[in-house]
């Protein structure tokens, strides 16, 4: 009978919860007990440098475009050598949801997530990080990549001498 099986289901449910009352809790008492997060844990964001020490970020605005909460803003600018860089770069950590979309969108591997999640502040304005707060001296998780060696514009090397590039064409040459 359906009613009997229904009652049996209720009783089974009650029995399961009853058993759980006596289980050992899985809670970790956070500030006293701490866990080391995995290296790919998504918390405080940093801007890294390329192996040659230059700022990796080219202020392409892909991270800010990808950010679902619009907490990244920046202004791009051109350096004397033609390098595109971020004049200012701001992440508002009071809005960030640490989804990692920015790091995923970044074509230069500049923006990276770190496992440092303890960034609470008393004043919410202190959670607005500017470029100098974000930029670190190091390559982060990808030590070898330098975007400008692969991109066609000649910033770190003369035109036509980057990775996988032929020397520039002589348009006036007559050879086929």
């Amino acid at each position: 009978m359906k009613i009997l099986s229904d009652i049996a289901a209720l009783v089974t449910g009650m029995w399961i919860t009853w058993k759980h009352i006596f289980r050992r809790p899985v809670t970790i008492q956070y500030p006293e007990e701490k866990r080391t997060p995995y290296p790919r844990y998504r918390a405080r964001i940093v801007l890294t440098r390329d192996p040659d020490g230059g700022e990796r970020c080219v202020a392409c605005q892909l991270c800010s475009g990808a950010c679902p909460v619009d907490c990244i803003t920046m202004q791009s600018a051109e350096d004397k050598d033609g390098r595109r860089y971020a004049e200012w770069f701001r992440i508002n950590f009071s809005r960030c949801i640490f989804c990692g979309f920015c790091a995923e969108a970044c074509p230069t591997l500049a923006i990276q997530m770190t496992p440092d999640f303890e960034i609470c502040k008393r004043d919410i304005m202190d959670l607005v990080y500017e470029k100098e707060d974000l930029l670190i001296d190091g390559c982060g998780k990808s030590p070898d990549y330098n975007y400008y060696r692969h991109a066609g514009i000649g910033v770190t090397q003369p035109r036509g001498s980057g990775a996988e590039e032929k020397p520039p064409v002589d348009v006036r040459g007559l050879l086929p």
Binding site: V58, A59, C60, Q61, L62, S64, G65, T73, Q75, S76, A77, E78, R84, E87, W88, R90, P107, T108, M125, V128, E130, K131, Y147, H150, A151, G152, I153, R159, G160, E164, E165, K166, P167, P168, V169, V171, R172, G173, P176
Partner: protein, 628 residues
Amino acid sequence: MPKLIIDDITVEVAEGTTVLEAAQAVDIPIPHFCWHPALGKAGACRACAVKMLEGPVKGIQMSCMLPVQDGMVVSTTDPEAVAMRRHIIEWLMINHPHDCPVCDEGGECQLQDFTIAAGHGIRRYSGKKRTHVNQDLGPFIQHEMNRCIQCYRCVRYYQEYAGGTDFGVMGSAGRVYFGRFQDGELESPFSGNLVDICPTGVFTDKTARFRARYWDYEMAPSVCSGCSLGCNTTPVARYRELLKITARKNEAVNGWFICDRGRFSNSAVNDPQRPRTPLVDGRESTRDEALEALALRIAETEQLYGTGSIAIVGSSRLALEAALLLPQLAQLTSAGALCYFTSEEERATTTSHLGLLSGGTSASQQEIRESDCIVVSGCDPLQDAPMLALAVRQAWRDGATVYVVGDGIVLPCEFTAVAAVDAVPLAAAKKPVLICSASCNSDHPAGLLVQHSQLKLAVIFPAANSYGAAQLAGEQGGVSLERAVASGKIKGIISVEADIPAHLLAGIPFVAALDWRMTETVRAAQIFLPTTAWVEMDGTSINNEGRAQRFKKVMNPGLPIRGLDPAGHPPHLHRTVPPGGEAQPAWQTLALLIERVSGEPVTEPFSGRWERLRGLDAGSEGVMIHDL
């Protein structure tokens, strides 16, 4: 009309349409690079491949090259066509430098869109990339040849459409190069359109270099204020700074393009000297204080010098909304003069030319492009209304004969110089157009219009809204400020975005100014109220044919974010009004003044016969005001 089936949708289009256009007519997008509605087809990129399933031709075909025929069955999604397009894109990308992050086109790039649409994501080619050296093309256009996909749009536009001679294609095979023979500024006054026409990032706007991405742009349909033609534009702003201006399509007016003068004209809006705070006797104050003081001074001046001692002065760059409120203000303050023009000559010539245009005799740019006989009489379109010259060239390309009366006139096409208009065989032409200028009264064409009923007239007026100003001056009995001051009665001037020469201001005890530019009048004014530039407000202006067009607000008024904080980044502050953001459209300030004087609030500038302009759509072709 041929009927065909594209992706199971039946389409009926005019004879001579291509399959690509037929598909676009029913919103089926087909990737394309070399085809452009204004340039037509070239068959250079092969990206628009479709499969013809039934009909006179079968198999993979280039949809941009194929005129429609009855009974065609087209598939854009056939696996063979999809694979073809994918391979084409892959080949186009073989030499591409993969530098989207540092390319200003990124985000608004046709190559990006179609690469993704075609499904090419991973580079399989392991060979090296061909590279080029760039050229310095002057202060406006940035060149980055590595990104070229050889669609030939630039050279077809520059040489064929715009008639430029200093830019072309060089080299052969895998080395073709699009540029000048040597470094140097592009000579064509329409070179800026290369930025819009190139589907990749080879040509980008140098004035907006590395400033923003498409998704951060603040954009709105707008109208160029550079000359009286009123070409349609889409200005681009970010952080309260006008970054660049791009062309917006309006078939009846500018077509797809704008001239360089309109495109690279953002400096006035971004000028750090722009006055942004209300001033009373040189002291910064609030808008309310300034309005209060203004109302008081008006009353004082009238007490002191009697009624009729105030002149209300508008201008031909003032938007229609504000211009329409001036008569009301003049009446309320019992002003002695309502002026839309400062100089008497400008008023007279503009008004007399306006008289010629009533009744549908004005030629739009489209009518010029379609004309078969064009007379340029005593004016220099390339100087005063450049897009008119480009329209003349299009007519000439279609076989029209072009006659020029006057010396020293250059046009981007071949023409016959004649001594007088009478020497032109106008009677033989089907759609003749006469181009003349309102600032030169010598060759007044009134007689010609009577002689040739089919003749249309394109008048070049001195400023963006001259037509509107002349129209209102005629309706409201406006005089020129020159005349009014000469009468000696005027002791106070309220200038609304007017540029009044110093000699007219001398000896006037009371001057008030509303403006967004730092003009001599603003400097001389005792009371000043800031207004918004055209990109900071919704407004209307009437172009040289009498076409009322709406422009929309692109950005908020206020000091640009850049430079607000010494640390270089935007300030860490919450504000509701940006610093210097008190500016208001001129008509709203006038409405507040009128309310202060009369006690009646003004909520809507358009009334009476102008009421139809209230809901004017900025995306439309505009409304001819003699239809109102």
